[in-house]
Symmetry: C2
Subunit: 493 residues, 2 copies
């Protein structure tokens, strides 16, 4: 047995164990190599890389030191007795290798591979090999098994309801805060809809960023449970909910490798829905050159995969393939998008009608799950009567109202058309880039207010949109970027 | 600038740099993460992982410490001034990611990926992702480009000859030392044939192991050059020749992942041939249930890939698809195989005729490259006249004769047929396993002497083969293993 010590070397996410080369208890050098070691004590253990130390001032010969991260994972005190051995080989390795070689795996094999991945038993090259093979060739049954294996290892929520609904958009279009209109309508109707939304990664705002303008969104599972019990729904950030431990392992591989795969996306999304106790989902799949899904054919294959996989998990799914060629609504950026949403809910004459229409269509699809005879009329009634607006206020209060919600940034600059004509197209990447340079999403008030849509006539010098920012430097940077290319293509005529 | 220090922590093959968290020169924490850092000084640099230290006794705040391996790679003295920056991204990463996503790469892109891999700029997960994708889907042009990129980064040999020939077997069949008969015939004819052969990895003997019974085989490039200049050929171990640095990088991924791929094999084999200056090659592709190639269809696809890829490199290739269902020759194990070879070369009446026939067929194919009118007759003449045997003696002398070549091991045990009948099949895996338990290939004298071939009649109790060993324990283990399953299937009748 060795004496546990803590060595103040931050090795980032890699747990590392340190042995002195002349350790009298074991042959320290024999542990050097690509295989990890398992350090155990008091019924607990941690899997680490091993380093060998030649200086007793760093690690005493009778000690086993751990990096702070590994030390915390093991959870024992300094001086306690620990032992070391080679980490056992992952039992699922034959299955992993077979999958790389192209053989389909059974559900049990996939579950075992996921288990070993989550436990950190695979080297990065093995995880990468599996995911590259999987991204290209998992068949439907394998996607179902993979999704189930992931869901079973996530923190689970269950609801005392027969129907728990959700609405999910594949996104990629700036603006387009449909969710924040749909949820209040569904809540007003009386269905349970615990919506866990994402923050922006590369866009100017995610649903969670826009909702945060109005209310707290970083609720934990207990807080979500209380909010949903109280009002029937929520619009919260997914970061503290249904965390799937395999996502960390997978993202460390798929992101640097740029792996984009319907199969992996569907599995990731549906595993989170299953963990959150959702029984019925409407998927919105916008199609456009800058949306996540570029063609109708891709959208149809993605929809098929959602339906088949969800069915395998006992979840009822409908998919709507929608127009993703331009922003919906006028605001781009958290506060500007929240403003659009509140105008729609308030039945403001100036509310963006495209946002209202799309939200009503999707809300109707959700209400359809409840057997409503005329779901579109029902959704319209709930919106027009102010019931949806009242539901939104209840959601805001249940989550924790922001006492001073920020409005659009006070520093503004208008970007005008260089020539007259008709708006032929809007480059969503460019619009996102300009809004982000203005400060979105970190600066809630930053973003763009769009004045024109595709097909609108413009005159030379007429403003296309207004940039909002909170800092002069951000405004200048966004304006400079917009001047080089406004993102609007104007066709003569 | 920081002061270079050396920290006595052996991190195995991973170069690691250590900074104090309160380093006044740079934000140490900002370097934490999956990306590596580049430490530079005196015109030299080394790429490392970074750890952050919280104890000034380990690393002073104004110092940058390196693990011993990284310190040696940089090659500067303690106290010298060094700087640190994030390691530049590999320039070929967009190509690598595109290939993982399924896009075909140009020759220039493949060359750039190989360059960055050899330089260690990719993480293991990236190399793994690329190779898993490549193993399944490289097209012919990509295999050619990949092979060329590998060959160009290997140590090159060139010969002042228009034709430099080679003979290569895909192997997998125990015994079968055809190469050691073919090379002397070709040398006797007068063609140049610098044969670099492998040692056994999982088999009881590689050509290099069997040749080593007679002569030194661990020649370096200069020694090979002298031997070939002197006698026109050689049969040496490939371990010290045409080392391809990317093989190390690739093997670290393909072996643990169990990747088996014609495309990667062809690329590896032909890149070594190209580096060795070979212009014409005969490939022998044995087909059998325990050979490397299991079916005729696979063999034909492999042959096609050899021909197409070699053509792209300007190498002339012929492929022979041969019977790989049973051992050829009688000996299995280095000394026993060398004995068969020398009997064939000596025109001994007792020489295995199957070994003689296959060697003559392949030698004739090689001589065909020289425009010989009747190559089979020419090969037979060179063998029958003793010219091939004399050439073998010259090869042995040029490489360095073993003054006391070991014969078959003195400890023997015969394994008899449990029943009478006809030999229906011979399990090559089992035969290899028995020979290895007897001590082959490390013990040159160990192995099997086979008395029966497929189709031969046997009586109950008649010996099928004799096990040879140098140690009683090895003999007992091999005999016990053979008793459970002799590897011979005897059909009644």
């Amino acid at each position: 047995m060795l004496r546990l010590a803590r060595l103040a070397i931050d090795t980032w996410r890699e747990p590392v164990a340190y042995l002195h080369r002349r350790c009298p208890e074991c042959n320290a050098e024999s542990f050097l190599g690509p295989r990890k070691v398992e350090v155990s004590g008091g019924g607990r253990s941690v899997t680490c890389a091993l380093n060998v130390v030649d200086d007793a001032a760093l690690v005493a010969p009778d000690a086993l030191a751990l990096s702070p991260h590994a030390f915390d994972l093991l959870g024992l005190a300094e001086g306690e007795a620990v032992s070391i051995r080679r980490a056992p080989e992952p039992a699922s390795r034959p299955a992993l290798r077979a999958r790389i070689a192209g053989r389909r795996l059974s559900a049990a094999e996939i579950d075992a591979v996921v288990e070993d991945m989550v436990a950190g038993r695979y080297a990065a090259r093995e995880t990468a090999g599996f995911l590259v093979a999987a991204a290209q060739t998992l068949d439907d049954d394998e996607v179902i098994a993979f999704t189930r294996a992931r869901a079973e290892r996530s923190a689970k929520v269950s609801w005392p309801r027969e129907i728990v609904v959700d609405k999910h958009s594949m996104g990629g279009i700036p603006g387009t805060r449909v969710t924040m209109v749909v949820i209040p309508i569904v809540v007003a109707h009386g269905l349970t809809i615990p919506k866990a939304a994402s923050r922006a990664i590369t866009s100017p705002a995610g649903t969670a960023d826009a909702m945060e303008v109005l209310a707290r969104v970083d609720l934990d599972a207990g807080e979500v449970r209380r909010a949903v019990d109280e009002v029937g729904g929520c619009i919260v950030w997914n970061g503290k909910l249904s965390h799937s431990p395999i996502d960390d392992v997978m993202n460390a591989v798929t992101r640097p490798l740029g792996i984009v795969s319907d199969r992996l996306s569907v599995s990731s999304i549906l595993s989170k829905k299953a963990a959150l106790g959702v029984t019925h989902i409407v998927f919105d799949i916008p199609v456009g050159p800058t949306a996540k899904v570029a063609s109708r054919a891709e959208a149809e294959e993605l929809a098929r995969l959602f339906v088949v996989t969800a069915e395998g998990l006992g979840i009822d799914v409908r998919c709507e393939i929608t127009d993703g060629t331009q922003p919906i609504g006028r605001g781009v950026g958290p506060a500007l998008e929240a403003r659009d949403v509140m105008k729609v809910l308030a039945n403001d004459a100036d509310a963006p009608s495209d946002l209202r229409d799309k939200a009503l269509m999707l809300a109707a699809r959700v209400l359809d799950f409840d057997g409503v005879a005329e779901p579109r009329e029902r959704a319209e009634t709930l919106l027009r009567s102010g019931a949806a607006a009242k539901a939104m206020e209840r959601l805001i209060d249940a989550q924790g109202r922001n006492p001073a919600p920020p409005g659009p940034g006070a520093l503004t600059r208008e970007v005008a058309a260089a020539r007259g004509g008709t708006v032929a197209s809007i480059d969503c990447y460019r619009i996102s880039g300009i809004a982000r340079r203005a400060g979105a999403p970190m600066e809630k008030s930053a973003g763009l207010d769009l004045f024109k849509q595709r097909g609108d006539a413009v005159e030379a010098g007429e403003p296309l949109y207004r940039i909002h920012a909170a800092e002069q430097a951000d405004l200048a940077e966004a304006a400079g970027y917009a001047e080089r290319d406004s993102g609007f293509e104007i066709a003569a005529g």
